[in-house]
């Protein structure tokens, strides 16, 4: 190589061809810089998603838009950069509506995969509950702008034969979205339409009729192979104090699926009962706290006044509060009502819905019935939460590993199969 340059990445020296893209150079040397908007040899690179943020000669910049030059000093994996990259993904999660369990792209989604990769359990940013219109107008495609991360891949890549844009950015600032041009879209071939869907790194561009084509286990990111369980000391440490640990659980606005998952550890439950005593919990049917608890496990978000009361009580009565499952973390399925007004929801459910009786005109209400909140709130917007376990539902082993770690300080590892969003 005549025009090769010497560069330093994370303290190690490498040779690379001058002017080559940093992300590709790193990849060629077995170093991983996460990317989302970057794909193939798009020239010039889009540089929109910022996930490949790295430090070059002391300045942070996007790796995909950086060309290598002689003597450049690159940092990829400082704790600060890892945190920044994680924060960007978290911000994307908070900005859009990424309900993995109900998304057609789940398992084939680049962003979901990065979420797993970075071990994101909860977004540090409050959920925005984006209310952009979902566009079904086109005969063949659906544009779900609430999932769009504005990576610009489709805007730059998908053109008609006469060179016109099919997708375009409209508006600006926080209202920016991708709009689809129906006329131009109709000119695409079926292959081109499928290609548009496949380059979308999330579930924003969908071709009607081909969603969920691949079954679980065969999706793009299912194939990653099973990860190995690291063998740890599996003997439960004996508890030093005489009493058992006290655990309370509850389900707020959830489906009890997370509680079902709790039971999924089967016979291991017996081991757990050796060291744990349940207080208030649907498992014991104890309705009221009888003492201060070590851990409170909360499933579901807050949809009504009773949820709020119970959650606040849990916060007071439990030293450590763990929320588990998507609903508790970001509102989940119940939070889908946040995109409509409460009035619309109630009228649809009790007055105008197709299953309501003709002439129904009452929305159930009584002083004993809890009041609905204006929207569904994730638990951490009401009280301080100590730990989050994602999943719909979370894997049983994941839950118990977290609990045991908190109680016994026991180390644990979570395999890919145990860590899930959908």
């Amino acid at each position: 190589m005549t025009n090769s340059v010497n560069i330093t990445i994370d303290g190690k020296r490498y040779k690379a061809q001058k002017g080559k893209n940093l992300v590709n150079v790193a990849k060629a040397n077995g170093l991983y810089i996460p990317t989302l908007c970057h794909f193939r040899e798009v020239d010039p690179p889009l540089g929109t998603c910022r996930i490949c943020t790295v430090e070059v000669d002391g300045k942070t910049t996007a790796g995909c838009t950086t060309k290598v030059y002689e003597g450049m000093n690159v940092q990829i994996n400082t704790p600060e950069l890892l945190n920044t990259r994680k924060a960007i993904i978290e911000m994307l999660y908070a900005e859009g509506n990424h309900f993995c369990p109900s998304c057609e792209k789940s398992g084939n989604c680049d962003m979901q995969n990065l979420g797993y990769d970075m071990g994101i359990t909860v977004s540090r940013f409050p959920h925005v509950y984006s209310k952009k219109a979902v566009d079904f107008t086109s005969d063949r495609m659906i544009m779900e702008s609430n999932r769009c991360i504005l990576c610009k891949r489709c805007v730059e890549e998908i053109k008609t034969k006469d060179g016109k844009d099919v997708f375009s950015f409209v508006k600006r600032g926080v209202g920016t979205r991708v709009q689809i041009d129906y006329e131009e879209e109709a000119k695409l071939s079926d292959e081109e339409a499928l290609y548009a869907m496949s380059i979308c790194p999330v579930g924003a561009i969908l071709v009607k009729g081909v969603a969920y084509e691949k079954p679980f286990g065969k999706r793009k990111y299912d194939k990653s192979g099973s990860s190995k369980q690291i063998q740890l000391n599996d003997k439960l440490k004996q508890k030093s104090k005489d009493q058992k640990f006290v655990v309370a659980t509850t389900s707020l606005a959830g489906c009890f699926g997370c509680h079902m998952s709790l039971l999924d550890i089967n016979t291991e439950l017996l081991d757990v009962l050796e060291i744990v005593e349940f207080n208030k919990s649907p498992l014991t049917d104890i309705k009221k706290f009888s003492k201060q608890c070590d851990i409170g496990l909360v499933e579901g978000g807050c949809a009504n006044s009773e949820n709020i009361e119970v959650l606040k009580e849990f916060r007071k009565k439990c030293d450590i509060l763990v929320v588990f499952g998507e609903c508790a973390i970001m509102g989940g399925i119940p939070a889908m009502r946040n995109f409509f007004s409460l009035k619309e929801c109630l009228e649809e459910a009790y007055i105008n819905g197709i299953t309501t009786e003709l002439g129904a005109n009452i929305i159930p209400n009584h002083e004993d019935i809890p009041k609905m909140l204006d929207q569904v709130y994730p638990c951490n917007e009401i009280v301080k939460v100590d730990y989050f376990i994602p999943g719909c539902p979370p894997n049983a082993n994941h839950i118990w590993k977290v609990v045991k770690n908190i109680l016994l300080g026991e180390e644990y590892s979570i395999t890919h199969e145990e860590f899930k969003y959908d």
Binding site: P44, V166, I308, K343, D374, K384
Partner: protein
């Protein structure tokens, strides 16, 4: 590559849209179909372009379109009263058009009249020093058929100060056209570039990139066509010095552009004039005409071989981010004004893919003066790193708002005396993308001396350490200088700043697009008294993430004021925040169930 004759050139697109907006007051679906067809682009792409710019409307914006300035300084004066007066008088809320389509009422970011607030534009005619009374009379007079031209207040220059010694003045002294250009007879383009480099002239919009270096790069790129663009998109809130130059010294600017053209080998010049300054267009055109008459523009200027240069004006359409040079070029090319990734700098591939120099108005105006007075005399003014003078636009709590031409090196405290700031508490220096200054900075001088590495001032955690480290460091500003006294609410100012960036972000990258939006919510929480120390820590962490990962300068600088305010005015935040709690006080159960109670009541009464 000869473009197809039937397809109008893309760079005319914004002009075409302006014509329709002016004629019809909105751009209809039919117009979009027609224009998209003419320009051979998809309708969606066109909608994307139209919706990017604040001054293009999809709905009728009224025969008289009122844009009321909602910037911080406007709010220090009569914004709220004037807004109410307009709303009451017209019977509509902000953001709407009257039923008879006569009036549209909208708000807009800083329009470059901070020295005479509250101000508004009506069909781009300026109206300054508004009061509720004046607003009401204005509407009545418009209804009575008075013309806007006769009603409007052409803004005063408000030049408050220039160095006492005329030899130390660069901008605000008489100028004869040709004074700078004549010197070119004896100077080669390389000589000019050398001279500009030696003068240490740097980008006066606020980025301070060395002008000579920029010109040299452009000169070294071989091309059949090169362009000089004057960035007159003075959108930084609180800045209006370019307005004064464009109004009273357009000749300086045109001459500066021609000299730049000579130096880099460009023959075409554009003035990218922000739409807010449309009322200055006529004057600039007249000046261009004078140059043409005097044969100081056109072909073989002053008989110098190959020295051809022409200047024309391009009108922007309302987007702060277009002050960023790559966004500005995209906007001139008829695209959404989104900044590019700097794969190529404009001096390599700029306007229409050709090498382009983009310079600020003040930068270009300094050039003919430099030639006229000679390098030696120029270097005798100012400080070593920043020779010459600087224009500052002063507004806010002081007795003499207006434009100041000061020699670089003046102490901040002396400047505060000069402008009549009797009780300065906080200063927004260098605009919303600049920083907050407090009394710890008053001893510092306004100059480019002893600058620390980029962005270091935003990394301090401790105010004492900051004061110690920064005491000898110069302060550079693109021109904005807003003073606030202790009676002003710091948090409201910060809220205004954050909201400004939410509105002006181009929307491409998530840290800027959503990060600022989330910060704005967080500031609301603090403002309402629900914040705690952890909220403050989160603001800091998020601000740094936005700064680190944003795609262009807009995002990278959007949290500067917030971060420096938190460092220097911790007591302001302490008095608003409370102790750490396990419960989020911002959540109020009564408020959250209010809606439910109302619905039940409403439905029960309907069916009773």
């Amino acid at each position: 590559m000869i473009p197809d004759k039937h397809i109008p050139q893309r760079f005319n697109l914004v002009n075409v849209l302006w014509d329709i907006q002016k004629k019809r007051r909105y751009i209809s679906k039919d117009d979009i179909a027609k224009i998209a067809n003419e320009f051979n682009i998809s309708k969606t792409e066109l909608e994307g372009i139209i919706s990017f710019y604040h001054f293009f409307h999809f709905k009728d914006a009224g025969k008289y379109t009122i844009y009321l300035n909602c910037s911080t300084i406007s709010k220090l004066y009569n914004y709220h009263e004037v807004k109410k007066a307009f709303e009451d008088e017209l019977g509509i809320k902000m953001g709407n058009t009257t039923k008879d389509k006569m009036f549209g009422l909208f708000q807009t970011s800083c329009i470059g009249l901070s020295d005479q607030e509250t101000s508004a534009l009506i069909n781009y005619y300026p109206f300054t020093n508004l009061t509720a009374e004046k607003a009401r009379t204005l509407i009545a007079k418009i209804r009575a058929g008075h013309s806007l031209q006769e009603l409007c207040n052409f803004p005063k220059d408000n030049i408050q100060y220039k160095p006492e010694d005329e030899n130390k003045t660069i901008f605000f002294k008489p100028f004869e056209i040709g004074d700078g250009l004549k010197k070119l007879k004896k100077l080669s383009p390389e000589d000019v570039i050398k001279m500009v480099e030696d003068s240490k002239l740097s980008g006066r919009g606020g980025a301070f990139f060395p002008t000579g270096t920029k010109w040299k790069y452009c000169r070294n790129n071989v091309s059949d066509q090169k362009y000089i663009i004057c960035n007159a998109d003075e959108g930084e809130p609180g800045t209006f010095k370019d307005r004064v130059l464009l109004n009273s010294y357009p000749e300086l600017l045109i001459e500066g552009m021609a000299i730049a053209g000579y130096a880099v080998g460009a023959t075409e010049g554009f003035i990218y004039l922000r739409a807010e300054y449309k009322y200055l267009k006529e004057g600039i055109e007249k000046a261009i005409e004078n140059f043409n008459q005097a044969k100081l523009l056109g072909k073989v200027i002053l008989g110098i071989e190959n020295f051809d240069f022409n200047v024309q004006i391009f009108i922007g359409a309302g987007a702060y981010v277009c002050g960023e040079e790559t966004a500005l070029i995209a906007s001139m090319e008829g695209k959404r004004g989104e900044p590019t990734t700097k794969e190529y700098f404009p001096v390599e591939k700029g306007y229409l893919g050709k090498p382009t120099v983009v310079n600020n108005v003040e930068t270009l105006c300094a050039v003919p003066r430099l030639l006229e007075m000679g390098l030696k005399n120029y270097l005798a003014i100012g400080t070593k790193s920043t020779p010459g003078t600087k224009l500052l636009s002063v507004s806010g709590d002081c007795t003499k708002p207006g434009v100041y031409e000061i020699e670089w090196g003046m102490k901040l405290k002396d400047f505060l005396v000069l402008i009549g700031a009797n009780d300065p508490y906080m200063i927004l220096f260098n605009g919303f993308a600049g920083e907050c200054l407090s009394s710890v900075d008053f001893e510092r001088e306004i100059s480019g001396e002893n600058l620390l590495a980029d962005q270091i001032q935003f990394t301090f955690k401790d105010p004492i350490e900051y004061a110690h480290k920064m005491s000898g460091v110069g302060l550079r500003s693109g021109g904005s200088f807003m003073v606030f006294n202790q009676s002003r609410s710091l948090i409201s100012v910060l809220k205004n700043i954050t909201d400004f960036f939410v509105a002006e972000s181009c929307g491409i990258c998530v840290p800027c697009r959503t990060g600022n939006f989330l910060l704005s919510r967080k500031i609301d929480k603090i403002k309402l008294g629900h914040g705690s120390k952890s909220d403050m820590e989160e603001i800091q962490e998020w601000s740094h993430i936005i700064k680190q990962s944003s795609r262009c300068g807009l995002g990278k600088t959007s949290t500067n004021c917030l971060l420096t305010a938190m460092l220097k005015f911790p007591e302001e935040f302490e008095k608003l925040t409370k102790d750490e709690s396990d419960f989020n006080d911002a959540f109020n159960i009564d408020r959250a169930t209010q809606n439910y109670d109302n619905i039940i009541q409403e439905i029960e009464s309907t069916y009773d």
